[in-house]
Amino acid sequence: MSNGVNVQALLDAREVLKGAPEAAQFTWRASSKWQHGVHSTTKIEKFFGLGQEQSHKNESVFEADHPAIFAAEDNGITPIEYLLVGLAGCLTAGVASVAQNRGIKLNSVESVVEGDHDIRGILGADSDVRNGFNDIKVTFTIDADASKAEIEALVAQSQKRSAVFDALTNPTNVTVEVA
């Protein structure tokens, strides 16, 4: 039975890093460049972890823009939609990993992620409205060789160990400087 997740490597890493917290310190990095209007291009390739510089196999390029109804050119998705990409990717990876660890064969895992956003906040139209999402809803549709309760437990455990779920549900210190 395999969902293609190397769970043993993850479990081994957990044991090793228990005794080596310094190696567990990662820094993820994105480099962004303004194009025109509200369009920007962000590239991701290198990161730091396990005590040294690391690199993805390939550089990834992400275009961010606003849609036409915001009077923009729509060269890419809006920045806040990238949060949905991150959440979906993270929870799905979690479902696959937990299923692998529990010996559950996945046939298909699909999800819809919806973020409710009152844009009066970013427009400054109402100071009581926040800038970010008010609510995020994720709906998974999973076909697996498992009971409904087991599938619900996969999804719950995935949230419990998700980096992006944590980053969205808890506050994080953010420092923005001018170099």
Binding site: A149, A156, T169, P171
Partner: protein
Amino acid sequence: MYVTTAVIGAGHAGLAASHFLTAASVDHVVLERGEVANSWRHERWDSLRLLTPNWLSRLPGAAYEGPDPDGYADMGEVVDLLERSAKDVPVRTGVNVTSVRRSSEGYTLTTSEGPIRARTVVIASGACNRPVVPSFDVPPGVEQVTPFDYRNPSRLPDGGVLVVGASATGVQLAAEIQRSGRPVVLSAGEHVRLPRVYRDRDVLWWMHHAGVWAQRYDELDDLTRARRLPSPQLVAGSTLDLNALTAMGVELVGRLSAIRDGAALFSGGLRNVAALADLKLTRLLDAFDEWAGTVPGERHEPTRVPKSARWRLDLRSGEIGSIVWATGFRPDYSWLDVPVVDEKGALVHDGGVVGAGLYALGLPVLRRRGSTFICGIEDDARDVIGHLVRGLR
């Protein structure tokens, strides 16, 4: 003074150790900083009762003999139980152990009554010596209370109360504070949901008889997690889960993440910690049914989580007059000058065997899941003292 075994602490664990040492004719002394059952007398809130029914609350040499085996002992009754168990135990009260270090013959103890040399030592000083309080920047004007300070709601200031933590302590205090007329906001992280009664029997009857408490420490998937598990949402006599609290008017919020600019910020993950607890409860009840060989019994309504739980609470607005930190307890080993405590302050031990001639009793999941409860001490003490006695030969 020289003894073969020095036992530190005359609570349920130290007294149980003494029974088995006496049975093996090992000369020993039980050193107690205060009096027998000191923590139960002085470090608990007024309304606290044991989570276990009386028929389960037994110690070596002392079982419940009163008229209400299905009742739950208050602190006076717990002290009485321990005092009965302490009969014939060589306790020296008022002896504070300030240091334990290795010596050529075993261990040297520095105490308020002078040094004691011992070949072996049993650490039975308790698992809950200090309340754990996270370091947050609470605005002045909001009173902060730990379960060690708390006695009853009347001593809290008027106004709302933020109770942080949804273990047995948190839910019990939230309930009685809400009943006192102070509106409670309960911050819940991961928690253990249990009904008081399942199929007409106390849920701990099931834990005991279905073999859950007998699960050995060295057979658990994740022992570290089992040992750090919060105490279950239980109270004497009735179910006190989050739904019961919501029905009383308690407001649920997520785990406290930070206090920033005078505002408490709660995790948006409340729904998932509730789902985890609900799923785990169902699996536990399924296991009970499987053990009993019967069709499934009643299942519980999923935890009702507010559609949009508040994730920000301004602590400067006057809404909240006090914070009760029900965020757990930790043992105190500051007197232990032997390198057997890990970086998180936990004693490193293998089922109560710490090292050469050094033992521990009375810690959560020490040798079994049942170790966490008073009634678990007898089997643990038999095993651990058995190991100690074999080492003396």
